[in-house]
Amino acid sequence: MLALKNWDIDLIRSEKRTLLGFFSLYMILCLIILCFFTFIYYSFQKDLLLQEKRVELQNYTSDFTLRLKDLHINFDKYKYYPRDERYNSAIFDSDKKEIFSTLKSKNVDLKKVIYLTQDDKIHFITQPESYYLGTKYVVIEISQNRNWIEELFDFLFYFNGSIFIIMLIIGYFLLNILIKPMKDALYLLDRFIKDTTHELNTPVSTIVSNIEMIDKDNLDEKLKKKITRIDIGAKTISNIYDDLTYLTLNNKIVSQNKNFDLSYILKQRLEYFKTLANVKKIVFIKEIQENIFIYIDEKKISKLIDNLLSNAIKYNKIAGFIKITLKKNSLIIEDSGKGMTKEELENLFIRYRRFDKSVGGFGIGLNIVSMIAKEYNLEVVFSSEINKGTKVEVKWQK
């Protein structure tokens, strides 16, 4: 994600979720493969160990069977079960019923030939050539040192850990390869906007400054109307220009934070948007408390207010109203527009997302609002009702 920051590109939530999903899936797959190979390796090592012990166990079995045979022949004379300090043993009949046992591990699996028990004993099962004393199965048991499994687990832990980290790094590079086309497309778009705004700078500044210099009082009514329209158009372009500049240069602008009189700034911005609102016969209802101060960059808070007001005008109905309330820790802008659906509200801050294509704009306004809010820990809460209007509440810490 670091690479994305360097490119000045924000991925939207669903894209991030997809990438995270892909990465998780990749890591789970790696884990499954690792577990599979661990199991194979463990089984292989266990088989190797059992094979090493097999010869020793076969010798013990031969010795035991001879002694069992002797006991069978002389059972009427003595009844002492053959014992040996090197191993334990047990005998079972053809119905797998235990005849006698000196085994330490009582769980015997007569279907297997050789296996390791849970309590670190090796069981070796054979069938003698005849059923001496009814014995069909002879089980020989020896103890196995626990060290081997601890060493094996240590090895597997470090080996798998290293492989997992390598897979993690490979996964990161794979992810970058995967998102490269997407990054390229977003970069191209940003680059285009950057170039366009650069070219717009001079003409927009010229129009705005020249309109401001015109003395409107000395003009006749018809020309005044025309000039007002040019003024609105120029302000709209200027606003878009400001947005695009902010967006493309945001990370490079150093904030100049000061304690600003928000009441004054808000009034100024309302004055600026008055012409725009008049065109749609929208009325401003102001409930602005005086002397509300906020520690912020002036340009950024103006941008935030501009975007909220601009949207409130843009999506409002003809002859509607916009209620602006400024209190100690909040700014509320309510409009009487068409409102938004729940889904639209969820995707509000996504760049280039526009809900109503009949009105102008690039879909970057609220993205800027979200960026500024994030920078200054402002809480922006939207609530909306279809055909009634939208309410935006910006809250900040005391």
Binding site: H72, F75, D76, K79, Y80, Y81, D93, S94, D95, K97, I99, F100, S130, Y131, Y132, L133, G134, T135, K136
Partner: protein, 109 residues
Amino acid sequence: MAKIIIVILLTLCFSKADIYEQNCVTCHQQIPVSIDKFFYRYLLKYSSQRAVKVALFDYLKEPSKDKTVMPEAFILRFDIKKASTLNDKELKEAIDIYWDKYQVFGKLK
């Protein structure tokens, strides 16, 4: 009362033992190979209680050279025995007594 019960139990035990003693041991006493040797031969061949009892029952009902566990020399000398005259229930009782007498479970030290 207790005495009566003991007497009944003893009578039952002896009557059961009688089937084996009267019908098996008496005949086997006439041959030089003791009856326990037959048992261990059955054990050597059939292993479990269930298999040994089934094999004994089959052989005693219809003795034949194919079913015998004894070596050929023994058969040549003593021949195959005649089929048992006991009914199935009595024969099974006699086999049970025979098994209990010579089986190895619980006898190993």
